[in-house]
Symmetry: D3
Subunit: 161 residues, 6 copies
């Protein structure tokens, strides 16, 4: 028997029945990153204190994408998110010409299923938006790896990478 | 002066004016991948000839996400896509326990701006959907690296990684 | 070889490439209907001259759904519609207890592909909305048959049922 | 007094107040069908074991449309669906040249109002997508009749056609 | 310390965590208005008893926009609205050439956060739609002032302008 | 005969046929404003140089809403916007306790119909988002007046308030 729960008796995809699952507070944390070059790094850092910096746009995109997850991922349940928080870190080694932005999204709900996909979608949209804002300077940016870091709540308990 | 074109005179984000750019056929190819474990590999391969296999769902998600790009990426222009094609490849080395699906999206338009973001969004949504369909088996899957491979059309000409 | 154009070389669904197709004015007319009972018929007719009649809501739903077609039908191209017109007719035979509303949608575009799906989606959403507005009175309403009546423009020329 | 609950004191459409209704598990089953010709029948059947068959695309469209119901039907309440399952049956009589696919959607929620519209929207979008995938072969396909088969949960209890 | 709750520890926007807030019935009433000229006034009044009057379209737009609030306002939580009611009033003084439509929206939910933004979005979309329907006659219409009139439910209790 | 073009022969709303209108560059500028109190003024000004200031979020909301106009305003044609630029001005008179933000949106397209509604929708969403970000401090903010300032392109030529 298949361990993939997303398929019905006809072998077709379904939105899994969660009617009997308990409503609890659930959280998920996902991580992504984007490797940029020095030119873009300088632009973002110099623009950091200005009104419309790149990361501000990217982070709003991430929050809005988290709310759109069920419209992007076909078998995802629509979920009433109760909180989304996106933050950034820099991994820079100028000598090695490494300029990397790490993106973390923490998503919360009080519902019957987890929010892993919402957190993963949030960091993906954030990274894609950084790409979009900077692609006029350089198109060689690389997004990812993108992964789930942590998950709490629900019957199966905690996941910690 | 900033090389980032997405900012206006007040230093705030804007959707860049492309009214004067020529309408030409433009294409973009993006690549992503997802690393899975052997259990998921077996499930996908065994399900390969069945009606509702994982990759079929993921690929439809990618095509629909390409059409939603301008709603996910804040400064993206709405574009009338004229074609989207998503295909998969396997990178498997059973001895090294490597099971990886590579995802390629080719997007076309006849318009005034490129479709890099549409191709990147398509492969991202495809990878996220594979994650969603298989996460009941294992949550350690890793998405990416995600990158632009090729771009044609428009004033700036071709990009080839 | 398959005559179904919506599949790529890997045998998977794709959004067909229409980059080389000519932009011409294209129209499509679709038809649907909904069979209601006498109670609902009386309500709609009596409400006909009032501000918020059932058919006004249904018809707006149809026009808005036409614009959403590419988000509902996975392989549909996003199209800039240039006109949508929805009209109603009654097919009533009180002796035979037949009360039927026929719904017609005419959709236009100036683009590279036809608008059959937009017209069919419009009449479907219109019929579904009539059902929604009246289901408190009777849930036995029957929607359809729904079909394409006419199509003009494009290389393949006219379709007339 | 009007039995149509969707109108307010000014005689205009409203989204009915369900704040006081109880949250219970509710289900709805809807049915639709699409009549195709032999050519399309052969294409679908021959493609049945392939990766991207017509019905797989159509069924994903149905599930995603169920989640969009409140954006398509103006007075529908937004509902957190807890399960959607779409299945197909064949009604074929080769001698009489009858080739018909019947589409069933079962939708579940744990909420304050029923999911009839979600089930009806799901089967409608599924049928429309089959039409879209096959219209290059024949445009004479006929969708419907579309109807509610069963409804459970809520104050008014069960509906069974 | 900032009193603006929408910012996280990095000083960036966030969707505020409401996981611990109680689910209660919450309501909000917002008001807007649109100043039109006599020509448009005559058109709307004369069309009042007809099937597709301007205000019917506008009011449906308002209800549908209320459901889209979390997709329009970046930091808004997605909320399952339990009721939306939009009504109109006239403020006319023919001698002073004042023709004004006032728009009121009352929105309800049973949830963890208020619906002020949903009510304000509803009246805004209603006013914008009146503008759209009448702009062929005169483009000088003025929308607003738009404001919150009343709010009940939740920890902070009632707001009454 | 009605001067309102949005109605068909049955007296119902329609999306006006623009198939024969010429594709030209069209622009529209709309204006809105929001009156805030001194507390909020201090918060916004103090936060001005920080990464996630209120106006940055609001302005992104405005740009994204411009792209959603055809989904919010029922009879609006879907339009491929070629540029959106939102800027802010302050109207402050501390002695008179007047603190007002004026919002201007300039929208461009190369298409068959004007972008007045896109500009008006952009400033409305921007103002609504400022309200959302600051409503924890004070709910008495007032949005508007909102109006069209300028329009160029198309058969009817320029509009200038």
């Amino acid at each position: 028997m298949s361990k993939l729960t997303h398929f019905n008796e006809q072998g077709r995809a379904q939105m899994v029945d969660i009617s009997e699952k308990k409503e609890t507070v659930r959280t998920a944390i996902a991580l992504s990153s984007i490797k940029i070059n020095q030119d873009i790094y300088d632009e973002i850092i110099n623009g950091k204190n200005k009104k419309g910096d790149v990361l501000a746009v990217a982070q709003i995109a991430g929050i809005m994408a988290a709310k759109q997850t069920a419209n992007i991922i076909p078998m995802c349940h629509p979920i009433s998110l109760t909180g989304v928080n996106i933050s950034f870190d820099w991994n820079v080694d100028e000598e090695a010409s490494i300029y990397e932005i790490t993106i973390q999204a923490e998503v919360k709900t009080k519902g019957s299923t987890g929010v892993e996909m919402e957190a993963l979608t949030a960091v993906s949209a954030t990274a894609l938006t950084i790409y979009d804002m900077c692609k006029a300077v350089d198109k060689n940016m690389i997004i990812g790896p993108t992964m789930l870091m942590n998950k709490t709540g629900g019957k199966n308990g905690e996941f910690l990478r």
